[in-house]
Point group: C2
Chain length 430, copies 2
């Protein structure tokens, strides 16, 4: 018996929507959104898609009409009653009512603002301009849509069993990685792979495979919708956009130097425990920590998101020691371009010296490398970033010059203000 | 929307039947059945299960109650209207009405006779006794049931994603084999894997993967039900049971020596073209060919099912030359324990010297070697053979003494009568 109604229903869809929920988004975007909604409701920000992999000519691969249909569908989404109930009623990091009532009332009525789309030189110029706490919610779904549409373009010409074997290979590959990870005692690892996932269904599969394969070692997912559907912990804290926009809004060099701390002072007031995680690399980790106020050393942990991760962790451990803190009580979260070998290496190097945790992203949810003849499904490096705030360009330096962004003159100014010297260049794979 | 009725229906089954159709059977069994129905309707034969892999203790792995339920379900099967229509209306090897009306009328009313089941020393003694053309139809379903129940016992304790990755690995493995085979120009290969398949669903998947992956190089399946469902050619000719039973029915040594030709004389009268395939190894290929009448050299081809396959093919080619036949017009079918490496090797050795074709069995439909930690799903060597006819034991010598069967004294007698000397022992994997 096939269910005729289901089949007919499935054929009624004009498109197969990639993002079907406003909370098919990273949990930390919602946390930051609430913070911005309270502290910077008037900031006017532009987010922009940046495809660092210029050789992937997205505008040649993806039909503009299809892309617009997907983005228009996202614009039509609103928070469902069940999603609202989940956000209002759920315990996040042991705390109820993480989301305040005024924020939830606003969020329940929010629709994503319009987008601006143009083709240029084989790439899409996709920008979102408006209130910071609104446009910032576009980042993750926009990236997910582009990555999945590119995948669909490649999958389109594959036959039925080719497709089945493709997914069979991807499943086998992930399962072998999970087996390797499961040998690490006391591992703590989370899914951070929403933005550059192969597809929603695939991310959902990966998360469930992690649950079965790793048990308690898998601590949750950054994807709010999957956390809700699979009864998992939603994971995340804050991101570079906070110091970047705060810095762009700074009136002068002195305010600029203080901006990364000012934004964390707001956060300090709003959150405690596992949400007090320092992301120190926006303008160079070393200078940030050297100048940091002592209350920051009291925070729960640090997230290492660029540069040499072992070096970053050593820097953090030394810093805590210098500030009289016990590193073994601190949390170090690695989240930059991880794959199993690197996770095993970092785990073996730092287990016992600090509490450590891993945010595994693209190579969890999109490791289709080597699975198609011309590697047409390999993930690539694409981001969607705040590029200006109230008319001022934003800047990111990070601990890897290959991840730096912003106008050259502003980059030089930031380097001077934050005292960033020579940095080691590292390849950005994903 | 899930289909509630489907779900409820699925839960109503007391068992999950392994064999659900009388034509989930090898096509050559039906061809031979019709021939026996006409020529030897009174022969009383016993078929018996023989597990050559004594280390696989089937009675420890498989619950007797479950086995009886599956066998009882097979006893309850009768030919459906659609199956009958297919057999009556289909073209087999270009010929309509391959199955005569009197045979079809009998087959439509046939139920499989009873079985006899006992446990002994960790093995099942499973026998079928009765009219030859009835009990012979038990061979394939009995083997398929035992192999699949053994698989189910191993699969029972696996978790959901473990299972999914198991099948993902098996799919990947087969797809890689298919890719390797697809590089052979003018390959002709068929599925011969019903009897020792992992499961019905898996055989069905393998066949469909062969269709997509090999196109015209895949010439059909021995499984009559799958041929019907997937619109493929049903493939097969005749098997050892014909000369074995005819030989057991022989009154003396002279009749014995003629029995293997007598059975083919019947076949010669009934069939032509691609169904005229010699299976020469029952009592030694060399002697069989040396003594063969000239009309046999006029047959379409030969099937090599034991011994060194290249040696067997060379013997056949030389024999045709000696009899004034052109080997390049003859068909050689390899069907013994094949896997891709052997297929590639034989193809490269004989392509152009004869028309060649492969009947790929167990390592097509049950290559789960290496996919579970203790290799609990690896296929093993199990057969179901005619062991006596009208009270006389049957004997098979084959071109590999490890495949010989029958009482020792009878084996010696047959060796003397058929003039079989020293033979090379070869491992029997599947």
């Amino acid at each position: 018996m096939s269910d005729i109604a289901t089949r007919v229903w499935n054929h009624k869809w004009k498109i197969d929507p990639i993002v079907r929920s406003l909370i098919d988004n990273d949990f930390y975007k919602l946390l930051m959104c609430q913070s911005i909604f309270r502290n910077r409701p008037d900031a006017h920000v532009t987010f922009s898609l940046i495809n660092r992999s210029r050789n992937i000519r997205l505008a040649d691969l993806i039909d503009e009409g299809e892309l617009r249909e997907q983005l228009d569908h996202i614009k039509s989404l609103s928070l469902t009653r069940g999603e609202s109930t989940f956000l209002r009623g759920n315990t996040f990091y042991g705390k109820r009512q993480m989301f305040r009532s005024d924020f939830m009332e606003w969020f329940e009525n929010m629709r994503l603002p319009d987008y601006h789309l143009e083709k240029r030189d084989g790439q899409y110029e996709l920008t979102f301009e408006g209130k910071w706490h609104e446009v910032m919610l576009w980042e993750i779904p926009a990236l997910a849509v582009l990555m999945e549409l590119r995948g669909r373009a490649v999958l389109h010409d594959m036959r039925k069993f080719e497709l089945q074997v493709l997914y069979a290979r991807a499943m086998t590959k992930l399962w072998e990685k999970i087996g390797q990870l499961n040998e690490l005692p006391h591992l703590r690892i989370a899914d951070f792979g929403t933005r550059r996932r192969h597809s929603y269904l695939w991310q959902d599969w990966c998360v469930q495979a992690m649950v079965e394969g790793l048990g308690d070692k898998f601590v949750g997912t950054s994807n709010c919708l999957i956390a809700m559907k699979r009864d998992l912990e939603a994971i995340g804290t804050n991101a570079h956009e906070l110091p970047m926009v705060f810095s762009a809004l700074a009136g002068n060099d002195d305010e600029l130097l203080q901006a990364p701390y000012k934004v964390l002072a707001d956060w300090h007031e709003e959150h405690e425990g596992n949400l007090r995680i320092i992301l120190p690399d926006t303008y160079g980790t070393k200078g940030f920590l050297d100048r940091a106020p002592d209350w920051l050393a009291g925070w729960t942990g640090i997230r290492i998101d660029s540069g040499d991760p072992a070096g970053g962790a050593e820097t953090a451990i030394q810093w805590w020691k210098d500030r009289g803190e016990d590193p073994t009580k601190k949390l170090i979260i690695f989240s930059d371009g991880l794959d199993t070998d690197k996770i095993v290496e970092l785990h073996n190097q730092f287990a016992g010296r600090a509490r450590i945790s891993f945010g595994w992203g693209t190579l969890l949810t999109n490791d289709f490398r080597g699975l198609t003849p011309d590697d047409g499904l390999a993930p690539f490096s694409m981001v969607c970033k705040a590029v200006s705030a109230n008319g001022n360009p934003t800047v990111k330096l990070s601990d890897n010059p290959n991840k730096a962004m912003g106008p050259a003159a502003e980059i030089e100014r930031y380097k001077r203000v934050f005292g960033v010297g020579q940095q080691e260049k590292m390849d950005v794979i994903v």
